[in-house]
């Protein structure tokens, strides 16, 4: 119980830190915060219009009042106005979020399955060609910039071989319902999801391999073997099950990495998620959107961490009573 209180306190601190950063960044920059809040066109406004904009953002109030005003408006769902899109930031974000969740979710799933399977087999046959080969591959892939990996996949599989579309999440004039629509989405998903999977696979693989080696050195494995338990059963029931525990926590810890990776990969593939929105808002100097995208990504990582906390007691019976 105490553990959960400390944990949720920490999440609250992270959220507050992100919000505080969002509040102070426009105000800490030299000059007026107005161009950051309301767009670069404020220079052309008349003095009455300027006064109106200043009042709208409460810029004449003391800083602490502005701060609380900002916090309450974020909590009540007012995340500012995108002057590029001409609509509220929240509406834009809600359009984009499903695509990011699809990309990150499918990559997380595939990377976990492959990382766990290869990690288990590699450690089981330690020193084999599979073990050495996957270790070398992990180091090599980790050295590649994620976005460049995506660019190379585009060059080979989209530009030269023409197996997959070059950009986007759906065909603009394609079918919008039923199986053809699903197939269209899948076809657009393959390359970006493969890139993100490759970029995060090695982390899961290395942790799984390490955890397996740790478990394989335990006494109960020797006991199981010496009493004649079948090898297959030792692998699956005794070793893999126990090695999965540390892997599950590390997977969620890596989620921040996955979200960062999705930002550049979405940009490479012009995938219409939050990451591409982040990129576009940088190019357009659309600061409210930029800050909204940052906030929503931070909130998703916190949410995933909370999910992991909730799942842990289900995976490990030992912590059900005492807490991790």
């Amino acid at each position: 119980m105490r553990w959960y209180v400390a944990r949720y306190g920490q999440y609250l601190l992270v959220l507050l830190a992100a919000l505080t950063l969002n509040f102070f960044l426009p105000r800490a920059m030299p000059g007026s915060p107005l161009p950051f809040l309301a767009g670069e066109e404020v220079g052309q406004l008349s003095s009455e219009q300027l006064a109106e904009v200043r009042a709208r953002y409460g810029l004449d109030a003391p800083l602490w009042q502005q701060y609380f005003r900002y916090l309450t408006s974020v909590v009540s769902g007012d995340w500012g106005f995108s002057y590029q899109a001409g609509r509220p930031v929240v509406a834009t974000l809600l359009d984009r979020l499903p695509w990011t969740l699809l990309l990150v979710g499918s990559s997380l799933l595939v990377a976990s399955v492959f990382g766990i399977a290869v990690g288990a087999l590699a450690s089981w046959r330690r020193g084999s060609a599979l073990d050495t080969g996957s270790l070398v591959a992990a180091i090599l892939v980790d050295s590649l910039p994620t976005f460049w990996l995506g660019m190379m996949l585009i060059a080979v599989f989209a530009v030269e071989l023409r197996w997959f579309p070059i950009f986007g999440a759906i065909h603009p004039w394609g079918p919008k319902s039923g199986w053809p629509y699903m197939a269209d989405i899948m076809q657009h998903l393959v390359l970006p999801a493969t890139t993100l999977t490759l970029a995060t696979l090695s982390g899961t693989f290395l942790v799984m391999r390490y955890a397996m080696l740790d478990v394989l050195g335990q006494d109960y494995i020797r006991t199981a073997r010496s009493k004649g338990v079948a090898e297959r059963r030792v692998l699956l029931k005794h070793t893999v099950r126990n090695a999965l525990l540390p892997v599950s926590t590390v997977m969620f810890l890596n989620l921040g990495l996955l979200v960062g990776g999705s930002t550049v990969i979405e940009t490479v593939f012009s995938y219409p998620g939050v990451g591409t929105l982040l990129y576009q808002s940088v190019l357009n100097r659309d600061y409210p959107v930029l800050q909204g995208a940052f906030l929503v990504l931070t909130v998703s990582v916190i949410a995933a961490n909370m999910l992991s906390d909730a799942a842990y007691p289900l995976l490990d019976p030992r912590v059900r009573r005492s807490g991790p």
Binding site: L25, P145, W148, A293
Partner: protein
């Protein structure tokens, strides 16, 4: 030959992979130092027709406005490496200081410093870096500062745990009992104990700084006047390297150089870790 010299030799040349890393890094550092001097063209000047394929005049062809890509890549080596090293040394200085002070001071100082460290570790670091870079504006120093701000937390955590175990060693406790001041124990006992670890964290931090810089520059947050490898790739993506069939000489070389540089640091870093912690070798 002293013990330290032997250790350095083992780190740099002890294993075939370490030798590969050292060779790669030597070549890249030489390119960063002398590349601009031997570059055939000024990378900012138009020196050919747009989208020219590789030729005797332009070894890696030209970009969308006719600048020589080979010269751009040579100059970019210096920018990318410089940002990586500045960011990593700043991050390690901050991270080591936080880790050492937290481990030695304990109590509320430790609690506060580690809460801050955990906050930085939880916030997705690339989006954070993007927001900071967008507000600060593109320049070599700003990019290095932003990267340092988002990556100092991991070394701080690692150094703190090493500092904790150093602090509890008998001779440190003895120094404390003899009335050694906080500053004395910090500089004479704890800091020397964590320095080798800080060095290996520095090498790791350099490789992740170079990757982060490349990502930021690719997202258009690099200095357009001082193009790094990532900035070259940003222009390649934005100005249609794929549509014009220019990707083999415009996209591959900068990306390959980033990868080889990161690989060099990773290989040397692993070799250093194995030398420092022989226990790891059995894994």
């Amino acid at each position: 030959m002293s013990r330290d010299q032997r250790a350095v030799r083992r780190v740099l040349f002890g294993t075939p992979t370490a030798i590969l890393g050292t060779l790669l890094l030597t070549v890249i550092v030489l390119v960063a130092l002398f590349g601009p001097a031997v570059a055939p063209y000024d990378p900012r000047q138009v020196s050919g027709r747009p989208f020219a394929a590789p030729s005797a005049e332009h070894w890696l062809g030209t970009n969308d406005i006719g600048q020589d890509i080979f010269s751009e890549v040579l100059w970019g080596t210096r920018v990318s490496l410089l940002i990586g090293l500045i960011a990593a040394s700043t991050a390690i200085t901050v991270g080591t200081s936080v880790g050492v002070v937290a481990s030695l001071a304990g109590g509320w100082v430790d609690t506060v410093l580690m809460r801050i460290t955990d906050i930085v570790l939880t916030i997705p670091f690339l989006p954070l870096a993007i927001v900071l870079a967008a507000f600060l504006g593109p320049s070599l120093w700003n990019t290095a500062l932003v990267i340092a701000l988002v990556i100092w937390a991991r070394p701080a955590r690692v150094v703190r745990s090493q500092g904790l175990s150093t602090r509890n060693l008998a001779f440190v406790e003895a120094a404390q009992a003899l009335g050694g001041t906080f500053w004395h124990i910090l500089t004479r006992h704890v800091l020397p104990g964590v320095l080798p670890l800080a060095l290996s964290q520095f090498i790791l931090a350099t490789s992740s700084s170079i990757l982060t810089e490349a990502s930021l520059a690719f997202l258009g947050l690099g200095d357009p006047i001082q193009k790094s490898w990532g900035t070259i790739l940003f222009y390649a993506q934005a100005r249609g390297a794929f549509l014009n069939g220019a990707w083999p000489w415009w996209v591959i070389p900068p990306g390959l150089l980033i990868s080889l540089t990161v690989l060099a640091f990773v290989l040397i870093g692993r070799s250093l870790e194995e030398t420092l912690m022989p226990r790891l070798r059995s894994r």
